[in-house]
């Protein structure tokens, strides 16, 4: 086994092995557990960096094992996969740091971090899967590994959230599996390839392929929280804050969105999908989700619930970008995969800080919180402005490319959808910012757990991650033309996915 085969496996192992070791550690071995967590996260980052450099230089990384005759567990690290891998690996490091701070002194930490590492392993597997079979294996592993995290607190409320999550994801998984096996039956394989594999079947199978697409979309749409399959996401906000970060930014909803990207570009092929008339319904579903999610967010007083509905809306930006036929929309969608992740994780980190430090769970309790927790609130503000698409933030880049993509594809109604959503975003985020910065400080906070010490408004492990991701939100917005920016990477992918010579101009 040579280096190029070993590297993808090493990326998987860098979280799998520490995770399995952590399961066996006694609760009290905090030092070793923390060391293992960080060691795994840093090694993974280093390996991912190696992959990025290699892929930019035109190397290809892949490995496969036969599971059954004619059925392979296959991995590859291509440009599209790396976009997701890099996002998850970077955010995993921050989430791990945050979780260490968040769970300090809490019970059952070995179990928590064990499953946490399994989740990231599953995400890496999803990103590097080279066929639908492998994708499904890790997609379901992700479901199984997140369940114990969602119910981590062991209360009845968390059980209800966890049960809802399972009902949605397991049924979605069964539908997805049906589609995958059907496709496998027709094609004899399900390997991802540029320009798709389904086109090889010929026009007699068009009807079947349309049904299969629907099955796959339902299965993936559950995790991507597409309306009307989004019901689990607001329920799952009972989970601890690091888990919410995992669900909303690092792993779960992204896995669904990423799956849709793979299906459209590398199973069906964008042009064949357009020819089959699949993209317009997909765009409509995405548009409905974007507006409905933002609309529902308006009425949530619970901060995490408001953020959850915001995720419902924002993840479908990715889907909308994919569904816009043309490279510009593709770039907008792909870059939003990354941008949504760093912005939303910032918001959830901050929400966790408010809850852990001051006991604030509701928007109506946030009056004047900016003066008590300025750094957290600055990070929150940056994240919220990014979500609205304010200039200089990552969100602005996404939105500009999406709008351009929509007009290039001749779908002007999609532009209206995006503007409507931006307005609604402003309508549910600006009141929060208003309360945070301009309302007076109340006499007592709902439940102050951590006292301020100098500039440290809360524990530094809780403070550092949101500040870093907020900074990344700004950097991705201001230096979008840099060679290592998410935008440049999205352009690279789009160039490879569209076979035609298309000139990709800046908006």
């Amino acid at each position: 086994m040579n280096f190029n085969e070993l590297l993808p496996l090493a990326v998987l192992a860098s979280s799998l092995l520490p995770g399995l070791l952590i399961f066996t550690l006694p609760e009290s071995w905090v030092g070793l557990r923390t060391a293992l967590n960080l060691f795994g996260a840093l090694i993974k980052l280093a390996l991912v960096l190696l992959l990025i450099l290699g892929v930019q230089a035109g190397e290809s990384y892949g490995v496969h094992f036969a599971v059954l005759p004619g059925l392979d567990l296959a991995f590859k690290a291509d440009a599209l996969g790396l976009l997701f891998i890099t996002l998850s690996a970077v955010l995993w490091l921050f989430t791990t740091l945050y979780a260490i701070g968040y769970l300090e002194g809490a019970p059952r930490r070995s179990r928590f971090f064990g499953f946490f590492s399994l989740c990231v392993t599953a995400t890496m597997g999803i990103a590097m899967a080279a066929n639908l079979f492998t994708f499904f294996v890790f997609y379901e592993l992700l479901t199984l590994a997140t369940f114990p995290l969602v119910v981590h607190r062991g209360t009845e409320a968390s059980m209800r959230g966890g049960t809802t999550y399972l009902v949605y994801t397991l049924i979605g998984g069964a539908v997805l599996l049906t589609g995958i096996i059907w496709l496998h039956h027709l094609l004899g394989h399900t390997d991802f390839a540029h320009a798709g594999i389904a086109v090889a079947l010929g026009s007699a199978y068009d009807g079947q392929l349309q049904i299969i697409f629907l099955l796959l979309l339902i299965g993936l749409g559950v995790k991507a929280a597409i309306v009307p399959l989004h019901g689990w996401l607001p329920q799952a906000m009972v989970a601890p804050a690091p888990v919410s970060a995992l669900l909303h930014a690092v792993a779960v909803v992204k896995a669904g969105a990423f799956g849709i990207v793979r299906i459209v570009y590398e199973v069906y092929g964008i042009e064949f999908a357009q020819a089959l008339g699949l993209l317009l319904p997909l765009a409509i579903f995405a548009a409905v989700t974007i507006v409905w999610g933002s609309f529902r967010a308006l009425f949530q007083d619970d901060l995490k619930k408001r953020l959850a509905f915001s995720t419902v809306s924002q993840v479908s930006y990715i889907v909308l970008g994919v569904a816009l036929f043309g490279p510009i929309g593709t770039i907008g969608g792909l870059v939003h995969l990354v941008h949504q992740g760093i912005m939303k994780i910032t918001l959830f980190f901050c929400a966790g800080n408010y809850a852990e430090t001051l006991g604030i769970h509701k928007v109506s309790e946030m009056n004047g919180v900016g003066r008590r927790m300025p750094l957290t609130s600055i990070a929150f503000t940056i994240g919220a402005l990014g979500m609205m698409g304010a200039p200089l933030t990552a969100g602005a880049v996404s939105k500009a490319w999406l709008i351009d993509g929509a007009s290039a594809a001749g779908m002007d109604w999609a532009i209206w959808v995006l503007w409507t959503s931006s307005l609604l975003n402003a309508a549910y985020f600006l009141p929060i910012l208003w309360r945070t910065w301009f309302k007076s400080v109340p006499k007592a906070w709902p439940g102050e757990h951590v006292a301020a010490r100098g500039w440290r408004e809360t524990a530094w492990l809780l403070l550092l991650p949101p500040m870093m991701t907020a900074a990344m939100t700004l950097l991705a917005g201001m230096y979008s033309s840099n060679q290592m920016s998410p935008l440049s990477w999205a352009k690279l992918i789009a160039e490879r996915e569209y076979l035609h010579e298309m000139i990709i101009r800046a908006p």
Binding site: L68, R111, F133, V137, L141, T143, L166
Partner: protein
């Protein structure tokens, strides 16, 4: 080699009876280890050089006894020994030193395994009957060995079922012998054509229905939940994991062997077992979802999982069907052994056999709960696990024949399994109520269950060799 697979368990069973459970256990372990090696070597030999035959004492059929092992037999032998060894280790820690049940446990398990191994190796219908009786009586003895009134009652019910089942089978064999003058499967296969006399149809019907009764296929499952739910955990594990599969194996053998022309001639016949299998999936899952006792839940899950095996009959004409069903047999065998073992440990620790009493065990017995969860993953057919590979193969076969209903049942059955598995896990993840006591349990109990569960999952990452073995006929 094949003879030793039958003689070894008989030997250690006899010694265990004479020496008592103390030293007898060590002898049994040594014997089981040797059996595992023998089964593995046999499988290797078959892969290398094809079907293995052996005439006992140099006397071949029709006078003597022939032992034949093809890929299917070798796979079943391998599964049996793979499950039996960890369960024996489990049992050695499960029974207390002076437990009267242990006195009978080891000899009976030896006879049970001898019966199983002989059944998988036998090449004629009558020998199969003999081994079936040996197996059935040893199994009834094991259920009764607990000694409680309820266990005796369920053992009697089990005895009744197994005797009626093998009686029907024997009657069928007699009719076949009367018609063709032979009971050798190899000789019979070309003799029984599509135009066979009615008597042969009746014989076939009797044999298959008798075996269905012994396999506890819905609606003949009435005896299984009390027997498997009431027996000591290592016994339940062994019965659910391999013993019920033995009679299924015989049905499969008859179906693709002597009766193959009959089943092709009457192609509606294939839907009868499949229909019962579907009903079994739904009914077993429904009862498992409702069960209040943990072991009853696991036992009803067996009823449901056995249903999947019978879905294969309409699909047997396609290549790969045998592989799919053996994958399911392995998946369920390993996972159910693990699940009963884990359930036994949980019951020992909490002191009560209820699902409701499990609150808080996730924290106290993480290894056991993990084992239960992994076994559950296999039963649900979620990846990565052998259960998933079985499900994948079954659905793909069903799609290739356009039998949508089978694919549908497999998918829905997986979801129903998720309901009862997560019912247990959910309860276990709850915070322990104040004042609940979880007694310490031996580590051996925890880890043997884990090993079995891990095996059921890991097989899902590498099924190529097993599939290759099964393909050798």
């Amino acid at each position: 080699m094949m003879v030793w697979l039958i003689l070894l368990p008989l030997l250690w069973a006899s010694f265990a009876f004479l020496l008592g459970p103390g030293r007898g256990v060590w002898l049994a372990m040594a014997g089981l280890l040797a059996q595992l090696w023998l089964a593995y070597a046999l499988a290797e030999e078959i892969v290398a050089s094809g079907v293995a035959e052996h005439a006992v004492g140099g006397w071949g059929a029709p006078l003597g006894i022939d032992l034949v092992a093809d890929g299917l037999s070798a796979a079943m032998l391998l599964l049996t020994q793979c499950v039996a060894l960890p369960l024996a280790v489990y049992a050695s820690a499960y029974f207390k030193r002076d437990d009267p049940a242990a006195t009978y446990f080891w000899p009976l398990v030896g006879f049970l395994l001898a019966g199983l191994n002989a059944l998988f190796l036998s090449a004629d219908l009558f020998n199969s009957y003999v081994t079936l009786e040996l197996l059935g009586l040893a199994a009834v003895g094991l259920v009764a060995a607990g000694g409680g009134a309820q266990q005796i009652a369920s053992a009697l019910r089990y005895l009744f079922a197994t005797l009626v089942g093998s009686g029907a089978y024997l009657l069928g064999v007699a009719l076949i012998y009367g018609t063709y003058g032979t009971v050798s499967t190899v000789t019979l296969t070309p003799l029984i054509g599509a135009g066979a006399p009615d008597l042969v149809w009746i014989a076939g019907g009797l044999m298959v229905v008798g075996l269905m009764l012994k396999t506890a296929l819905f609606p003949f499952h009435f005896w299984l939940p009390p027997a498997h739910g009431g027996a000591p955990a290592p016994v339940s594990a062994l019965l659910s994991a391999v013993v019920v599969k033995a009679s299924f194996y015989l049905i499969l053998r008859l179906w693709i062997g002597p009766f193959s022309s009959l089943t092709v001639a009457a192609n509606l016949v294939v839907w009868l077992p499949a229909l019962l299998g579907m009903l079994a999936v739904f009914w077993g899952s429904y009862q498992a979802i409702r069960a209040e006792r943990l072991k009853m839940l696991v036992a009803y899950s067996t009823v449901a999982q056995l249903g999947y095996l019978f879905l294969i009959f309409p699909l047997l004409v396609s290549a790969g069907a045998l592989q799919a069903v053996i994958m399911q047999v392995f998946a369920h065998g390993l996972a159910k052994a693990a699940m009963f073992a884990a359930a036994g440990t949980l019951i020992k620790a909490t002191g009560q056999d209820t699902v409701a009493g499990l609150a808080g065990v996730a924290e106290r017995l993480p290894v056991t709960l993990f084992a239960f969860g992994l076994a559950g993953v296999t039963l649900m057919g979620l990846p990565p696990s052998s259960g998933f590979l079985a499900k994948w193969q079954l659905i793909e076969l069903a799609l290739s024949q356009q039998y949508w209903v089978i694919a549908f049942v497999v998918l829905v059955g997986g979801l129903l399994a998720a309901v009862y598995v997560f019912r247990v896990l959910r309860q276990a993840f709850l915070l322990a109520p104040a004042g609940s006591v979880v007694m310490p349990v031996p580590r051996t109990l925890e880890w043997t269950a884990f090993v079995l569960a891990a095996a059921s999952v890991l097989l899902g990452l590498r099924g190529v060799e097993l599939m290759q073995l099964v393909g050798i006929t």
